[in-house]
Structures are given as C-alpha cells and as structure tokens.
C-alpha cells in the first residue's frame, strides 16, 4: 500500500507541515519505502488479539489513578508565559482567529 503525492499533501495539511516541492518526492519515497516494511505485519493473524495500549497491562491491571479535587497550582503567569513569542496584557497573541 503506498501513498500518492496527493495523499501526502492532505496529510501534510492535517499536520500543518509544508512540503517543499523539491523535497516532497524524496519524502514520499522514504515514507513509501517504510510502508513496504509495514506490509509484513499482514502476515500475522491478529484477529483475536487485543491491542496493547499500555505496556504495563501485560504485568498487572492498569487503572487510571484519580487525584483529590484540590487546587494547588497558584498563579504563575509570568513564568509560564516567559517563552511566549507574542503576548500582551497577559494574553498570548496570534493572528486573528476567524470563525
């Protein structure tokens, strides 16, 4: 199963990445080269096998830990925003969001 350039462009859009016209064919080749490997997975029958989302689940039952409903994060706006590329009045600034 290999990707077409069109599909790659759609994926790039979804991922908010630009495909440089010169680079795109090589990127496509490399990704498709990888997908040849992927085909090998189909040789194995996994019909009755549950996906393993959390590796720890193999050794023990994993369950989400729940924490107490307590506020313990004080206002740390200065620190948290210290790397902001653009900010004003305590807000992050971005090009206008059009609804």
């Amino acid at each position: 199963m290999s990707l077409s350039m069109q599909e790659l462009e759609r994926i790039a859009q979804l991922a908010r990445l630009r495909l440089e016209p010169q680079e795109a064919p090589r990127m496509l080749d490399q990704i498709n080269g990888f997908f040849e490997l992927v085909e090998r997975m189909n040789a194995v029958d996994t019909q009755n096998v549950e996906p393993l989302a959390h590796p720890a689940a193999v050794m023990r039952d994993v369950a989400l830990r729940l924490r107490a409903d307590v506020v313990s994060e004080p206002n740390a706006r200065e620190l948290n925003m210290q790397n902001a590329p653009a900010a004003d009045g305590g807000l992050f600034l971005v090009p206008k969001v059009i609804e």
Binding site: I11, R18, L37, A84
Partner: protein
C-alpha cells in the same frame, strides 16, 4: 590525583567527595575544563559554568554540614529532552531554541535531591528521533572511539559525555533503543528500566507509551546508583508511573545469586538466547564479541538456553507505526503560539502554524509526524495503528513465553558497530532496520541494558544486551556487575577521552 577525577565514575566520585579527599567544586571545575577542551565532540548543547559551580558550592556546603546524600557532588549531565529551570531545553530542535522551562523534570529533581551537580544538557537527535545523533539541529556528536563515526542515538550526546569522561554519568531516554544503542556504540553501560519505573513528567514527549528515562555511565554499579535515585512512583504528576516501591539496586550487587557461591556467583541464572537475535543480519564481529561476553557469563555459572522470539522482525514496522503515531500527536503542541519557534513572516493563522512548524522541525521529525498522522487517519487506523498494537501484544506475549525457561534474555544490541557519519543519513529505513534488537523490549515495556563486551571492527565497541522481565532491573544490574568484576571491557578508554 586530579588526572584521575574524570575516571572515577559515579560511586567513586561520591565516596571521594564524601571523604573530603576532594571538593565538589574541584570536581566540577575539572570536568568543566575537560568539557570545554573536548567540545569538538559535540556532546553538550548547553554548558553554563556559573550554574554548575553554584550547584557544586551548594554540594560542598552540604558536605560541610554533614549531609549524607548518596550522590553529593557527582558531576552528571542531562539529555536535552529533560526540562530544566536553569539550563535551556531544546530537545535537539530549532523548535525549542532557547526555551526555558519554568519547572524541572521529575527525574532532574530527584537526582538534584540526591546531590548531583549538573554540568549541562547533552546533544541528542531531535525530539529523540534517531539512531545516530545526526538529526540534531545543533550539529552531530562524535564517537570518542572514532571521531568520524556516529555515537548512536538518540542519546548520543550523553553517551559521548560519559565515554569521553566529561561526566561521571548522564541521563538518557530510551524509546526504541536510544539508551542501549548509543551505550553499545560508545562502549559504556546504560539501562532502560521497565516502562513506568521513572517518571515521564518533564521529559519532552516523543512516544508516550514507549519513552523511559534511564542512566548511562561506565559501569553497572554506577548505573545502579543513578537509577535508584531516578526511579520511583510519581503518582501526582504522571498517570503512567508505576505505583511500586523502589528496590535497593545498589545493595548486594557484590553478592552471589541466592544459592550460588563466590566462585560461581551467577549459578542458577538462566540466560535465554533468542535464535532470531543470532540470525544473519548480525555482523560477525558483533556476534563474536557478544559470544565472548556470554562465555564469561557461563564461567560465572550462568546457563545458556535457547529461546525464540518469533515476531522479532515485526517489531520494526510495529514500532515505526506506534511511535510516530504518538509523536505526531505529542508534537502538535509545537505551534508557535505559547512558546517555541514562531516564523517571522506568515499570511494568517494557518500559515503561521505551517511556517513555524516546517521551519522548526527537521526532516526526520517531519517524516515521522507525517507517517504518524497517516496511520491514525480515518480509514487507516485499524489497518495500521490497531494492527501494530496487536502485534505489540503478541511480542510481549512471546517474551513471557520465553521467560518461562529463562531469567534474562541476552543478545546483541545492534547488528553492527557504529557506522560512519553521513553514511546512513539519507537512508532512514536502513537505520530503522538496525533497531531490530532493541525494539522488542521497548514495545513490551521490559527493562533492557547494554554492557560493553569488547571491540569489533575498526576498533569500535560492541554491546551485549540483557533484557529482564518486568520490574527486574536488579537481575540485569547484578549480572552485568559480576561480568564487569571479571572483565575490563568497560574500563577501556577511547582516544576521544584524552584531552
């Protein structure tokens, strides 16, 4: 004596400082000087002399006041995917150039609480994606055994810093082999613990269900010292952190196994050798060194048994679907809005995202984001992502079957020794294939270790991989320690350690 400081390692440095034979400041200054002298090896991305000396002075003050912290004054470095308040964190990427985290990673905090002195942040493949440290946006790192060769990746900088004796030990992260493989390529010792042993809070996330922090040092004992400090439940901050107590890893390393005697301390240890790890594809020099290591373990009383991990090969596609999928989502936060690189020119909001991300991420990262986005996308999720997760379970089950007849699984870390810089940089798939031996343990969440077992072709180090069952870091460290007690492979010095 001062010329030996950099040879001491973690345990020795700690005891020398505790005994006041040398001060933390002296050690720090010595290591800082070496780090500056050896800077061409590209190990460090960030060195801040004053920050380091301030920590060293604090350590000395604690020694004065009688504090008994196990790692007081020990000079270490952190892979640049651990966020630190006092050093920038780049994750090897343009995207985070100059980023200052308002908090320290849990692992950084825990080591600091035990008294370490940080020399700086080490080079790595961008966002931990790579096997050669050639994907760093800040330049390559060079193998101290041969500066024209890769150190391995993604924790290449940490491996170099340790091998070149710029630090006593360093933190790394291992998602698909990124501690074990550079440790093997640089002739040092490194361990990835069981998934969930070390907190991931403060580790820039690559693949959440695979990432694990671990120590890299020049002996199993040193790794034990560091790992004991690093690991442990972080229940308030990491929902995947295992709620299990931290065993004492340092204690009883010397002792023989239960029921064994001093002559054959590993009596009773069954070492499983998966036939898939010893098949063709593994170079002769690597096999030879690995077998030499295994022979030593037999002399120590261990028994070698044959096991099989039939789906080994499929670990490659499974990993390279799961990891990029998780990464594609984890890296979405890098959008130039709240931190990180924002492009100078853009037409509108969407363009700002596209420009910033395309400029900030290198090609391998972009490749994996694209792959990951694809395998999660509508219509492909079942065939790729879910299929890979099912294969993952089968691989984990294979290990459990194997562990029915052995205590530890052994084999090579990588099919070859370190390759030349530039040799594989245009062939990512060939690099993926070279991960074949480290990926299965990663997918399964099992602890895995790399131990030096001598030199292969071109005088380059070879690593023996030891894989343990869940939570059994102790057996790995114990086994490696005894191997290192009767061999000197781990003591050999590369050319690149000489100033």
């Amino acid at each position: 004596m001062s010329q030996d400081i950099h040879d001491w390692g973690v345990a020795e440095t700690a005891s020398q400082i505790a005994a006041k034979h040398v001060s933390a400041v002296e050690v720090a200054q010595h290591m800082l000087q070496r780090s500056q002298q050896l800077a061409d090896n590209g190990a460090f991305l960030s060195l801040q002399v004053e920050s380091t000396l301030a920590q060293a002075r604090a350590a000395d003050a604690q020694i004065e006041s009688g504090a008994k912290l196990p790692l007081l004054g020990v000079p270490i470095a952190h892979k640049d995917v651990f966020v630190t308040r006092d050093w920038p964190t780049t994750a090897g990427s343009r995207m985070l150039s100059g980023y200052m985290s308002p908090f320290d990673a849990s692992v950084v905090q825990r080591l600091a609480e035990q008294g370490v002195v940080t020399l700086g942040k080490t080079n790595c493949d961008e966002f931990a994606m790579g096997s050669a440290n050639e994907n760093s946006a800040y330049g390559v790192a060079r193998n101290p055994w041969d500066a024209s060769r890769v150190p391995g990746g993604s924790s290449g900088g940490s491996a170099v810093a340790v091998a070149a004796r710029m630090v006593a030990g360093a933190t790394g992260t291992d998602t698909g082999g990124s501690i074990r493989q550079p440790a093997a390529f640089c002739g040092i010792t490194g361990i990835k613990p069981t998934y969930g042993r070390c907190s991931r809070y403060g580790m820039v996330a690559y693949a959440s269900s695979l990432d694990q922090a671990g120590p890299m040092a020049r002996s199993a004992e040193d790794c034990a010292w560091l790992l004991e400090a690093m690991m442990g439940p972080d229940l308030d901050r990491d929902s995947t952190s295992l709620d299990v107590p931290v065993p004492s890893l340092r204690a009883h390393l010397e002792d023989p196994r239960e029921g064994a005697d001093v002559q054959k301390p590993l009596q009773g240890l069954r070492i499983g050798l998966p036939k898939e790890f010893f098949a063709e594809g593994c170079r002769a020099d690597v096999l030879s060194a690995v077998k030499a290591g295994l022979a030593e373990l037999e002399k120590l009383g261990a028994t070698l048994v044959d096991v099989s991990l039939p789906l080994t090969e499929l670990a490659i596609p499974a990993y390279y679907i799961i990891a990029p999928a998780e990464a594609s989502s984890n890296l979405s936060r890098f959008d130039g809005v709240r931190y990180g690189h924002r492009a100078d020119h853009f037409e509108d909001l969407v363009d700002m995202y596209v420009q910033s991300r395309s400029q900030g991420f290198g090609p391998e990262v972009q490749r994996r984001i694209l792959t990951g986005t694809y395998v999660l996308s509508h219509g492909y999720y079942d065939a790729y992502y879910l299929k890979a997760q099912r294969i993952r379970r089968l691989i984990a089950q294979d290990f459990q079957k194997a562990f029915a007849t052995c205590d530890v699984i052994a084999g090579p870390v990588a099919p070859t020794v370190a390759w030349a810089l530039g040799e594989k940089s245009n062939d990512p798939v060939s690099q993926y294939l070279a991960d074949i031996f480290t990926l299965p343990a990663s997918l399964s969440g099992l602890p895995g270790m790399s131990v030096p077992v001598g030199l292969g072709e071109h005088g380059l180090p070879v690593g023996l991989q030891l894989i343990g069952n869940y939570l059994d870091e102790r057996t790995l460290l114990h086994t490696a320690h005894h191997l290192q007690a009767v061999t000197d492979w781990h003591l050999q010095q590369p050319q690149g350690a000489k100033v």
